[in-house]
């Protein structure tokens, strides 16, 4: 093998993004001369307070919210998700049911697993083979026993969209609060929350080229709310704790940049993603796209490579300087392949070999060409080792030809 060109190629932007240099530059003064506490009366605080308000305005624009006071800063998407769901339960103590989906992010899923142990009833909406919900099932579950519905806007593994605006209207009509975890969608698709029935929305700074450790909860004016953290009166008493000012400023700049590049995301990035998909599927047999290929984030491609395992693929990609992620059990140290793949009924031998490529506006066509060039050899190399693989393809009836004793 020739020595590969090792300039790294980062295709794991659904995990995190590079903080935009403009955002970093804007943050720096807030670590040094602009150190004031925005709550303070003096001018040190006042200047910082104005900057925090300006950043709030940038988020308002990105989300298409009616008022800037509908934005509550949090320490990230996970805190926003937890705040939204726990607030709804606290505000509606007589309602003991929650509706989510089988494929939510762990920030929602694991919270609800815990709430189930505490006696709440959790309804998890099923998905079909390409990750779509059955809205009839959803409609039947909506009742005055439900405290909150929490459904992600776009799936982090496959990029598949859920019809959250429609689902919010249905919840609204039934008198149920609606929250969406939009961590993957914000900054990638145009949003107009002012014209939606969505009550609460979670977002995160570092998924859109902002800093880590900062996020926000959109809270529709008038939606009933109970804070998670109480203390000082920050965020109008809705999230106590001195503001993470530098991160807020950075996320504000990142939001402006995201709005500027929104079109590019849906043309340039989408074209690169489509090229990557076509290139890989043309060159690698027994590989398929998971999720709803016609209705997903423009930057996300999730491919299942049958009969090989994801972590092994990632290690070989990494050796070529390519960063991606996998739904295999091994990469997480958990027992099972991704809950998203299982919910879609992807067979184990394929689910373990799912690789997520998530792009950003910083990727180039040359990078995509390189990934397309090296991937087929990597898959072939691992298939050579696989007991499910014969000379030139899968062994006849792979599940029967190799049926190990499982422990």
């Amino acid at each position: 093998m020739s020595i590969p060109n090792l300039t790294p190629i980062y295709l794991d932007n659904n995990a995190t993004t590079r903080c935009a240099p403009e955002a970093v530059a804007a943050m720096l003064p807030y670590f040094t001369e602009q150190f004031g506490n925005p709550s303070s009366m003096h001018s040190f605080g006042a200047k910082v307070g104005h900057a925090v308000k300006a950043a709030r305005g940038s988020l308002q624009k990105l989300l298409g919210a009616e008022y800037d006071s509908e934005i509550v800063y949090t320490a990230g998407g996970t805190e926003a998700d937890n705040t939204a769901i726990l607030s709804a339960l606290k505000a509606n103590p007589e309602r003991r049911e929650i509706i989510i989906t089988m494929v939510e992010h762990h920030a929602v899923l694991h919270l609800c697993d815990q709430l189930e142990k505490d006696g709440y009833t959790i309804h998890k909406l099923k998905v079909d083979g390409i990750g779509r919900l059955d809205l009839d099932e959803y409609a039947k579950l909506l009742s005055d026993k439900v405290a909150v519905v929490s459904v992600m806007w776009a799936n982090n593994e496959t990029g598949t969209f859920f019809p959250v605006e429609q689902m919010a209207q249905m919840a609204n009509a039934a008198g149920v609060l609606f929250h969406t975890d939009a961590v993957q969608a914000v900054g990638k698709i145009p949003l107009n929350l002012a014209n939606s029935a969505i009550d609460m929305l979670s977002m995160s700074g570092h998924k859109l080229h902002g800093p880590k450790g900062i996020g926000a909860l959109y809270l529709r004016r008038g939606a009933r709310f109970r804070p998670l953290l109480r203390g000082g009166g920050q965020e109008r008493g809705r999230r106590a704790g001195t503001e993470n000012v530098p991160a807020i400023i950075g996320m504000g700049v990142a939001a402006e940049l995201a709005l500027e590049h929104m079109e590019q995301e849906n043309t340039y990035v989408r074209a690169l993603r489509d090229k990557l998909q076509a290139g890989i599927l043309a060159a690698v047999p027994h590989a398929f796209v998971t999720g709803d290929a016609r209705n997903r984030l423009p930057n996300t491609l999730n491919v299942a490579f049958e009969y090989v395992e994801g972590e092994a693929i990632l290690m070989l990609l990494n050796k070529q300087g390519i960063a991606a992620s996998s739904g295999s059990a091994c990469t997480s140290g958990s027992l099972e392949p991704s809950h998203v793949m299982r919910a879609m009924g992807i067979p184990y031998t394929a689910a373990h070999g799912t690789i997520r490529f998530s792009l950003s506006r910083e990727n180039t066509e040359a990078e995509i060409d390189r990934v397309i060039a090296v991937t087929p050899a990597i898959i072939a190399q691992l298939r050579k080792l696989s007991p499910y693989w014969g000379e030139n393809g899968p062994v006849t009836d792979p599940e029967k030809a190799f049926a190990p004793t499982y422990a």
């Binding site: 092994a312 958990s334 027992l335 190990p404 004793t405």
Partner: protein, 295 residues
């Protein structure tokens, strides 16, 4: 990314003995539920002296599963079946310069494939004697099934007991919530409620006679032994010199990557039992003198 040793990476990037072995006369096929990994081990055994002439593997699995398979084939080639059966999963991990706790089951899968292949050669049917569950204690690589079975078998009712029997929870203690959950579940089955133990009392160090103190030290060592023996290791008291307690780590414990953690666990129990700060120092096992053959 996992913190794999250079040897693991090397065996993953350049696996030895990969691929089918058409002349194989011993084949083992096993899988590990916990990773979805699966391995087919093929051996060519010389029927005359039961020596493994050649070995190869095919593996569906992660980097450490492939590396463990590769290591296993390297270790067993040239061995007799009897010698090969002595290869423990720790031997495979050691050969690779250690594996992360979450990945130890890859080495277990290697050992099971070997047992399965040898059973296949002898016309026997190999059945697995253990089941793997979710990893609870990451310090000592103990899974939920192991903890649950141990609680059941020994009627345990506290986290401390679980730690004493399985080592789980004896390190950083962040898995205590998980252990309490398993305890609560098993206790509920026997119709009892799980009650968190009161915080350990601060013991005022009482004066012990030298004899009492040595006996106490021996008790702690004896208590630790069954757990280590289960992993094919052992610990032996060698000497006590003031606050320094010399012990010998034996069998699989000797040179094990977890030796420091194991010693740390025993030392913590020793400090608690004696009510004073002591240090456990490993020394070479005592040399058993061969029967005097000199005339």
């Amino acid at each position: 990314m996992w913190d794999y040793s250079e040897t693991v990476k090397e065996h993953f990037y350049n696996p030895r003995n990969a691929g089918a072995l058409p002349e194989a006369n011993a084949i083992g096929e096993v899988g590990s539920i916990s990773c979805g990994d699966a391995l087919r081990l093929m051996l060519k055994v010389d029927p005359a002296n039961e020596t493994i002439l050649d070995a190869s593997f095919q593996t569906f699995g992660c980097g450490s599963a492939i590396a463990s398979s590769s290591a296993l084939t390297e270790i067993i080639k040239g061995k007799t079946l009897e010698q090969a059966l002595d290869v423990s999963n720790q031997d495979i991990a050691d050969f690779l310069g250690g594996l992360p706790p979450e990945k130890m089951h890859c080495s277990v899968m290697g050992r099971e494939a070997l047992q399965s292949a040898i059973a296949n050669y002898r016309g026997e049917v190999w059945s697995d004697d253990h089941e793997e569950g979710a990893l609870i204690c990451k310090c000592f690589a103990v899974d939920a099934v192991m903890i649950e079975d141990t609680i059941r078998a020994n009627n345990l009712c506290s986290v401390e007991q679980v730690t004493n029997y399985t080592k789980a929870g004896g390190g950083c203690s962040s898995c205590h919530e998980g252990i309490e959950e398993i305890l609560a579940k098993v206790l509920a089955e026997r119709g009892e409620d799980f009650k968190a133990a009161p915080p350990p009392e601060k013991k005022v160090p009482g004066k012990m006679t030298t004899l009492e103190r040595i006996r106490k030290i021996e008790q702690v060592i004896e208590k630790a032994r069954p757990n280590l023996q289960r992993d094919h290791g052992d610990i032996e008291l060698v000497d006590v010199d003031g606050k320094t307690i010399y012990v010998a780590m034996k069998g699989a414990c000797s040179g094990c990557q977890m030796e420091a953690a194991t010693l740390g666990g025993v030392q913590a129990q020793m400090i608690e039992a004696l009510g004073e700060l002591v240090k456990l120092v490993p020394v070479k096992p005592t040399v058993k003198l061969a029967p005097n053959t000199l005339a």
